[in-house]
């Protein structure tokens, strides 16, 4: 039996609701209620007045994934619902699909968006902000949100239209590899940022820029400390106290 496509306003409504996925984030079931809220327009469109509590209970279970991947999961689950309602044979049911993909998608999203794209956009914006330009926040928002919004919207549509093949599509995007490239770019730009600050500092003190190389081992030491779990707060207090004491003594 052929499955009737969901109307476009339903997709639009789900897209808008995806921004509220984490509104009731809780320790017990994390995004469960948010995911139900996200798919509700789709479920209403599929089942109409025959939407039952039993069907909805499938969406009240524990759920946690990266918020930008949730529309993709929602699109596919609704398609599975439709296929099953139409008597089609799907390899997995909604609960199994959700349970299978949420953790890998969360890991991919965290690495790509939080660990890769966000720091890179921030460093680019920082380099602009150091020139005193108020365009910095705008550039940051544009660099981050363009991929973010495209991913959210296309995720919902691809999830629905490609169904389980959406997983292959995500794999083909090679997000973990991309995340590594973004992190490498971030590391390079961090080097540029620190060198620029060192040079400016030397210029301000009217000393040779060669003294700027002193900053390199200090940054690497702090990076090692951060890697070992020393908090940023401690490092800030240590640095500022030392500098203030030096300023008071000399």
């Amino acid at each position: 039996m052929k499955v009737r496509r969901l109307p476009w306003p339903v997709f639009l409504s789900m897209f808008c609701r995806s921004f509220l996925l984490q509104a009731s984030w809780n320790f017990e079931r994390l995004q469960n209620l948010g995911f139900f809220y996200l798919v509700l327009p789709g479920l209403r469109s599929i089942y109409g007045t025959s939407l039952t509590a039993e069907t909805c209970a499938r969406y009240g279970e524990y759920f946690n994934t990266h918020p930008y991947f949730a529309p993709l999961v929602a699109g596919t689950t609704l398609r599975i619902e439709q296929e099953r309602l139409a008597g089609g044979d799907t390899p997995v049911d909604v609960e199994t699909y959700k349970a299978t993909v949420m953790a890998p998608f969360a890991a991919m999203g965290d690495a790509f968006f939080w660990g890769g794209l966000r720091p890179l956009a921030a460093i680019v914006a920082m380099l602009i902000a150091l020139q005193g330009s108020l365009w910095a926040p705008v550039v940051f928002l544009a660099l981050f949100n363009l991929p973010h919004l495209i991913f959210r919207a296309s995720g919902l549509l691809f999830g629905y239209f490609l169904e389980l093949r959406a997983i292959d599509m995500v794999q083909r995007c090679r997000l973990p590899d991309l995340a590594i490239r973004l992190k490498e770019s971030t590391t390079v730009l961090l080097g540029v940022l620190c060198a620029y600050l060192s040079y400016n500092g030397c210029e301000h003190q009217a000393i040779s820029a060669a003294w700027g190389f002193v900053v390199l081992p200090v940054v690497l030491l702090f990076a090692w400390l951060a890697h070992k779990g020393v908090s940023s707060l401690f490092m800030v207090l240590l640095t500022t106290t030392s500098l203030l004491l030096l300023a008071l003594v000399f």
């Binding site: 509220l20 984490q22 509104a23 009731s24 984030w25 809780n26 320790f27 017990e28 079931r29 469960n32 209620l33 139900f36 809220y37 509700l40 509590a53 909805c56 209970a57 009240g60 966000r118 720091p119 920082m126 902000a129 150091l130 108020l134 910095a136 926040p137 940051f140 973010h148 590594i180 992190k183 590391t187 390079v188 961090l190 080097g191 540029v192 940022l193 620190c194 620029y196 060192s198 400016n200 500092g201 820029a209 060669a210 700027g212 190389f213 900053v215 390199l216 200090v218 690497l220 702090f222 990076a223 400390l225 951060a226 707060l233 500022t240 500098l243 203030l244 030096l246 300023a247 008071l248």
Partner: protein, 230 residues
């Protein structure tokens, strides 16, 4: 600053605070965006930009993954901007030393944000239970309402964090600022840059890239050499 300014700042604090978890996550909650935004609302976006620059990298490597709650750098940025602008009008102090002082006093208070956010999430546990009950009884509209009510708990947490940081920070600042501002001015640019460099180091330490140290060292050395020899 008048009461209306504080109310406007509170409104921005809630708006950007919601962006952290509950609403949209457009990243207007990042210090580099939130601080200039509140500065712009209060009439001085450049002070906000200076605050945002100092804070942006500090906790950027702390990912908001699962149940992890990083320190609330959003409200630290908002509160530091409000404090800087209020000190400006109250004591006639201005410039980067004042911004640095406000940031330094606001940073440790960011821990309050973690406490309030944890409370909000615990409160949401109850909402989730109620929502689940409505869902199982077929009352989908009320289940949706329970979900949306969670926005209010996150809003209250954001507002509480901003208020506590501004109140405690201002209380201490008004007392010690006149004594410390001289030393901060003396340390000047090195203090400003060191805060950014500590943030950069913290990010470098958490970014987990193979050959990260080599890449950083090469980029640092190359850039410094170019700047030096040009």
């Amino acid at each position: 600053m008048v009461v209306a300014d504080y109310l406007l700042a509170a409104l921005v604090a809630v708006l950007v605070g919601l962006d952290r978890v509950a609403l949209a996550q457009f990243m207007i909650s990042r210090p580099l965006v939130a601080a200039p935004l509140v500065g712009w609302v209060l009439g001085n976006p450049l002070v906000g930009l200076e605050v945002g620059m100092l804070l942006e990298l500090l906790w950027l490597g702390r990912l908001p993954v699962g149940a992890a709650i990083p320190p609330d750098d959003t409200q630290v940025a908002v509160a530091a901007t409000v404090m800087a602008l209020s000190m400006q009008s109250a004591h006639g102090l201005s410039g980067m030393p004042l911004v640095i002082l406000c940031v330094l006093f606001a940073i440790p208070l960011g821990k309050f944000g973690q406490v309030f956010e944890r409370l909000a999430r615990c409160f949401n546990d109850r909402l989730a239970v109620n929502g689940q009950t409505y869902l199982l009884s077929g009352d989908f509209r009320r289940a949706g309402k329970m979900h949306l009510l969670g926005v209010a708990s996150f809003a209250v947490a954001s507002l509480a964090t901003a208020t506590v940081i501004v109140l405690l920070g201002s209380l201490v600042l008004h007392t010690v600022a006149p004594f410390l501002i001289g030393a901060v001015r003396e340390a000047g640019l090195s203090l400003q840059y060191s805060l950014i460099v500590v943030g950069a180091a913290a990010l470098l330490g958490t970014v987990n890239v193979h050959r990260g140290v080599s890449l950083f060292t090469a980029a640092f050395s190359g850039t410094l050499l170019v700047l030096w020899l040009r």
